[in-house]
């Protein structure tokens, strides 16, 4: 499966890097290799994807499942031991990396999920910019 890096994802990475949410080693050894597992398609052959602490469907503020939306999760990342999330859209046989964020509380998560719904609508209509593939 093609894994596209959207401009939204690049923008969020710049901010995460600026805030030192994760270390370079974590990115190279864990975060990027985990995201690259998406290349093997869905349903994933990798057991991690059965673990809800690593991968799961995105849900909105009303706790409704967001169709085509997923979250990849990392726990205790960086020196701040933060909860890192990567919102992913799987649509039309492609995975779109949409936005990385630090889940500091439920309100942040709800905001990011609202934005994810906007991304899904835009991606579905072909209104997006991407920066290459993983």
């Amino acid at each position: 499966m093609d894994v596209l890096i959207t401009e939204w994802a690049l923008d969020s990475y710049l901010n995460l890097k600026h805030s030192r949410a994760f270390t370079d080693a974590e990115y190279k050894n864990t975060i990027r290799p985990n995201a690259e597992l998406l290349k093997d398609g869905m349903p994933s052959p990798h057991p991690q994807f059965q673990n809800p602490k690593f991968w799961g469907p995105a849900t909105d503020m009303a706790k409704k499942t967001i169709q085509c939306g997923y979250k990849m999760k990392w726990h205790n990342v960086g020196s701040g031991k933060v909860q890192l999330r990567l919102a992913v859209v799987i649509l039309g046989g492609k995975a779109f990396l949409c936005q990385g964020y630090v889940k500091t509380n439920d309100f942040v998560d709800k905001r990011e999920m609202a934005k994810l719904k906007i991304r899904i609508r835009d991606i579905g209509r072909g209104h997006y910019i991407y920066r290459g593939m993983l």
């Binding site: 710049l14 990027r32 649509l91 934005k115 994810l116 719904k117 906007i118 209509r125 997006y128 991407y130």
Partner: protein
């Protein structure tokens, strides 16, 4: 596929929230743009609802900045998938520093013209959005830069940058 379009019931709710935003003193143009976006995107409706449900001003300000980001994004979004050059992870630090320097210089110009509060009045961009703009490493958007330039009477040369979203 075209999901997450705002339903008529959600559109009705948007009117009520827009009225509350006006009462809270938000700029009329900003509110109008929020309403337009929320009539189309269920996600924007959700953001407006989160603004209404926020338990403190800090949360409200974050949502305001989110909404302004979405408004600006949708003014510049292409109508077909568009590929821009790939960015290597090893280059991210340099890019972030470049953006940081650019925003720092722009901030100095803003401060010479009365600061962020004054800029918010002149541009109609909500203050929380301008604070996020200057305090983050997000790539600046053309729309935002041009509004700032217009408000401060800056030339193209003053605002040019390699990294624009």
């Amino acid at each position: 596929m075209s999901t997450f379009k705002t339903s008529p019931e959600q559109q009705l709710k948007v009117y009520g929230i827009a009225t509350a935003m006006k009462t809270a003193g938000l700029d009329a143009n900003f509110i109008t743009n929020c309403v337009k976006l929320a009539f189309e995107y269920e996600g924007a409706h959700d953001l407006m609802q989160l603004w209404a449900e926020a338990s403190n001003q800090e949360e409200k300000d974050e949502v305001i900045a989110d909404l302004q980001d979405e408004i600006d994004t949708h003014q510049e979004l292409p109508k077909k998938p568009t590929k821009k050059p790939y960015v290597k992870f090893d280059d991210l630090d340099a890019i972030a520093k470049n953006i940081e320097g650019y925003k720092r210089n722009l901030r100095k110009l803003v401060d010479r013209h009365g600061g962020i509060v004054e800029l918010a009045k002149k541009t109609g961009i909500p203050q929380p959005s301008l604070s996020r703009f200057f305090n983050s490493n997000s790539m600046p958007r053309r729309t935002t830069i041009y509004k700032i330039a217009e408000a401060l009477g800056l030339s193209e040369k003053d605002i040019i940058t390699d990294w624009v979203a």
